[in-house]
């Protein structure tokens, strides 16, 4: 098959709102220092739940983050994170859609679970249940029922997409995906593909989520997926550690500005990295469990490398999915060892930044893709924090103790979702891009 030259795509802007910082640089310096964003949950009374800890975004000022008051009214907590991170990414790139080129700008988002706000559910409860708490539809017809269409709009599956396209005037290709924890990675992969097939010249791509609310956290508590180290919040997320016992739920958003390489060069843009390859597979094993032999994640990593034309000896940093659950970490390590048998225990630096930030669910893949770009820019790998004793099955070359400097020629970001969707992205150092 005659290989057609692939259109080259540059990352020229980054924006982040995370539990360790409300801007890219704040987040990045916290990750290099291995600072934890976890603590006792403060945004609601979590004292009765089996897990009382989480990694919350702190001191986030909705009003200043989203100047458009009308838009802000429709924005959920995670939408506000998204609008703020996307604005930062565009400002960082120094470019934004104009009326002349807005139809050539696209948007892809990994959108969070549409979990309803507890307060909204409480209103339904108060108007529309019988004495045992079972739903009674006619209660909604009570003239005093305060059902507000704004809440309804906020809850629609592509509400984030609608707010972002409006805020920034993006009139081209736009889509929203949700494959649980793989969402953010898949959104960036979808953007790469849409640009390569010529649908857009520039795109905003990322993810956002906030499940740190009573209904959001309930689902994970019921499943027993969260760490219950309630007396040690900052040490609870410890990917690849022998004693790990679940993930720490985080929240936030991450966005990249993607541009046609030649257009970015022509305007003298700062290029963080080339978004070089995307891989995407379905494990088809079990809904929550990960395949112990890495069958599934392996295919995603290999596809991403193949798509990027990057060899296994060129990857210098892997931002692992590393949730800190027993099964996931083991499965991912099996996959990494299968793909990089000679270098994964010595040369390739590996870290899960969930050790600091917690698990940002649908935003995780997008934020971690941004981390890969920053690792390339600064030639340094962030810390896999909170590490005691390595699980013998997870004996990969973890970045322990302090951030590890050294050129990153290419970086890999893995995202492995509930339901078995696996996303891998490969980023190449711009110095490694031959003209």
């Amino acid at each position: 098959m005659a290989a057609k030259e692939k259109r080259r795509i540059a990352v020229t802007g980054i924006g982040m709102v995370t539990p360790v910082g409300n801007t890219t640089e704040e987040t990045w310096s916290a990750l290099l220092a291995g600072k934890s964003g976890a603590g006792q949950i403060e945004s609601f009374d979590a004292s009765g739940f089996s897990t009382t800890i989480g990694a919350e975004v702190k001191n986030f000022d909705r009003e200043s983050a989203v100047p458009d008051k009308k838009l802000l009214k429709f924005a959920s907590r995670s939408h506000a994170f998204a609008l703020a991170a996307a604005a930062e990414a565009l400002a960082d790139a120094g470019i934004a859609p104009t009326p002349e080129d807005s139809h050539r700008w696209g948007l892809t988002v990994g959108a969070g679970m549409m979990s309803v706000a507890y307060d909204d559910l409480k209103v339904i409860h108060d108007y529309a249940t019988d004495e045992n708490g079972y739903f009674n539809a006619d209660g909604l017809l009570d003239p005093n029922f305060p059902g507000n269409p704004v809440n309804f709009c906020r809850w629609q599956s592509n509400a984030g997409l609608g707010l972002l396209t409006k805020q920034f005037g993006i009139r081209g290709y736009a889509t929203s995906v949700h494959t649980a924890c793989a969402s953010g990675g898949q959104a960036i992969g979808s953007a790469l593909k849409a640009m390569r097939r010529g649908q857009c010249d520039r795109m905003l791509a990322g993810g956002f989520d906030s499940m740190l609310n009573p209904i959001g956290i309930s689902g994970f508590c019921l499943l027993g997926a969260l760490s219950t180290d309630n007396d040690n919040p900052t040490g609870a997320s410890r990917p690849f550690d022998k004693t790990r016992n679940g993930f720490v739920l985080g929240e936030g958003a991450g966005f990249l500005v993607l541009e046609d390489w030649d257009l970015a060069k022509a305007r003298g843009a700062n290029i963080y990295a080339e978004l070089a390859g995307d891989g995407n597979s379905l494990s088809c094993y079990r809904i929550t469990d990960s395949p112990p032999d890495g069958n599934g994640p392996i295919q995603a990593i290999l596809q991403a490398l193949g798509d990027a034309g990057v060899g296994i000896d060129e990857i210098d940093y892997i931002n692992a999915h590393g949730t800190s659950t027993q099964m996931n970490d083991r499965s991912e390590c099996a996959a990494m060892k299968a793909v990089f048998p000679d270098r994964i225990q010595s040369e390739i630096r590996v870290s899960s930044t969930k050790s600091s930030m917690g698990h940002l669910i649908a935003a995780a893949g997008a934020v971690e893709a941004a981390v890969c770009c920053l690792a390339i820019r600064d030639g340094i790998a962030p810390i896999n924090a909170n590490h005691g004793e390595t699980d013998p099955d997870c004996d990969v070359n973890l970045v322990l103790g302090e951030a590890k400097p050294g050129k990153v020629r290419a970086a890999l970001s893995n995202s492995l979702g509930f339901g078995g969707s696996n996303s891998s992205l490969v980023f190449r150092n711009p110095e490694e891009v031959s003209a």
Partner: protein, 424 residues
């Protein structure tokens, strides 16, 4: 978009909605001119301003025979699994795999993709927490304490937006490229467009595309009604008396592969995917551009991608949801592209309601059937085209497509417009 000369074809389809659970049953409804919308049964509608919907009549057991699965999925997932597995069966792709030598089957699975458009979530699933709120007397501390005594540990799994992707994938071992698209009304049709793009891009050899949704539930009806989007009678697309849409529920699915592969395995070909367009109007969640900007651009993109000119199109399946603003702006966008030569135009929501996330892909499946039969079904509820829309060829009675090429238009919240071009 198209970047190769290889033709992509449809080799299987599956569908379920209020009008039936097979293409033939639903076709019969479209031809009869009698809507499948009627009084609903999910709750007592006597006091409600809207008393009708197009509900799926099939029992869970008829949709998914594995009863163990029923405990771990929601009703919308049943529709999606049913349609996807019918499409797979109809295409014969997995039967073809199973006849391969065992050592070739793993590679086949890795090259078989699955892309699902999902409604995203629903309100009623959250009602599982209501008895807990009663028990906890509204105290969050007690809510947390009693959580595991009141709510099933499987709650989250039952309500994952990507459940159809997981289960159809596991059951069929479809291990290749995948996505779960949560783009409101555009979800299902985008699954088809992304599938064709992925095959053209060499990511997979064949992909099952599906879309499913069950928007019909009390809170959805309440809010749609409050926003003035809901009619109390079957929708009347493009009619002067149209007053809103009505919900349906269901799912549809198609299998896409290269024409050469389909022919090599002797599969029946249902039609060809020619191209698509997708754009946002950047108007926010609900608002529509008054000049039909997004409809126009999505049609132009689709024609360009399909390498067709407007005069090549012999049929349009419009979004036609029956709301005053959407139908009007859709007609303006269509007219901007086609001028006075708009091809024969129909739409199906009058018959099986608005399936939201599944609407575009259901319309696509039925458009392929219309082209195959050479019959353009009329809009059974249309009496008189709105004078504000002007001279517009929305079909009242059955007619004929004027060529083998059709456009399917799908619009959604977020200012989304997606148009797919197909041929039989």
């Amino acid at each position: 978009m198209k970047n190769a000369s290889e033709k992509i074809v449809f080799t299987g389809s599956g569908i379920v909605c209020g009008a039936g659970a097979t293409v033939n049953d639903i076709w019969a409804v479209l031809e009869s001119g009698e809507t499948a919308i009627g009084p609903y049964s999910q709750w007592q509608g006597d006091n409600w301003p809207v008393k009708i919907a197009a509900e799926v009549k099939e029992s869970n057991r008829n949709l998914v025979s594995d009863r163990k699965l029923h405990k771990t999925i929601s009703r919308t997932d049943m529709y999606g699994i049913y349609a996807a597995e019918k499409a797979i069966e109809n295409s014969g792709v997995l039967a073809h795999r199973d006849a391969l030598a065992e050592e070739k089957q793993d590679a086949f699975n890795d090259r078989t993709g699955l892309i699902v458009g999902s409604g995203g979530g629903n309100y009623t699933s959250n009602y599982d927490y209501l008895p807990l709120i009663t028990e906890a007397k509204g105290e969050l501390h007690d809510f947390g304490k009693e959580l595991s005594n009141q709510v099933t540990p499987m709650w989250l799994l039952k309500n994952l937006p990507n459940n159809v992707l997981c289960h159809v994938g596991i059951r069929g071992q479809l291990k290749g490229t995948n996505a779960c698209i949560t783009n409101q009304c555009a979800s299902g049709i985008m699954a088809v467009a992304e599938s064709a793009s992925a095959i053209w891009n060499g990511e997979a050899d064949r992909i099952v595309a599906a879309g499913h949704d069950s928007p019909f539930e009390p809170e959805m009806v309440y809010y749609y009604h409050k926003l003035g989007l809901m009619s109390s009678e079957a929708p009347k697309p493009f009619d002067k008396d149209r007053s809103g849409t009505v919900f349906g529920e269901g799912a549809a699915s198609v299998v896409l592969e290269r024409e050469a592969d389909a022919k090599a395995r002797g599969a029946e070909i249902l039609g060809e995917f020619l191209g698509f367009g997708c754009c946002s109007e950047a108007t926010g969640i609900l608002d529509l551009s008054p000049d039909g900007d997004g409809v126009q651009r999505a049609i132009e993109q689709a024609l360009d991608d399909a390498e067709l000119s407007p005069s090549d199109i012999g049929m349009i399946c419009a979004h036609g949801n029956g709301t005053p603003a959407s139908d009007l702006t859709e007609s303006i966008g269509i007219r901007t592209v086609f001028g006075d030569a708009i091809p024969p135009l129909t739409g199906f929501k009058w018959a099986y309601g608005h399936l939201i996330g599944a609407s575009g892909i259901a319309d696509l499946v039925m458009t392929l059937e219309a082209l195959k039969r050479g019959v353009l079904p009329g809009i059974g509820t249309l009496d008189e085209v709105d004078p504000e829309i002007g001279d517009f060829p929305a079909a009242k009675e059955a007619g004929k497509p004027t060529s083998q090429n059709a456009l399917v238009i799908c619009r959604g919240f977020g200012g989304m417009n997606v148009v797919v071009a197909v041929r039989v």
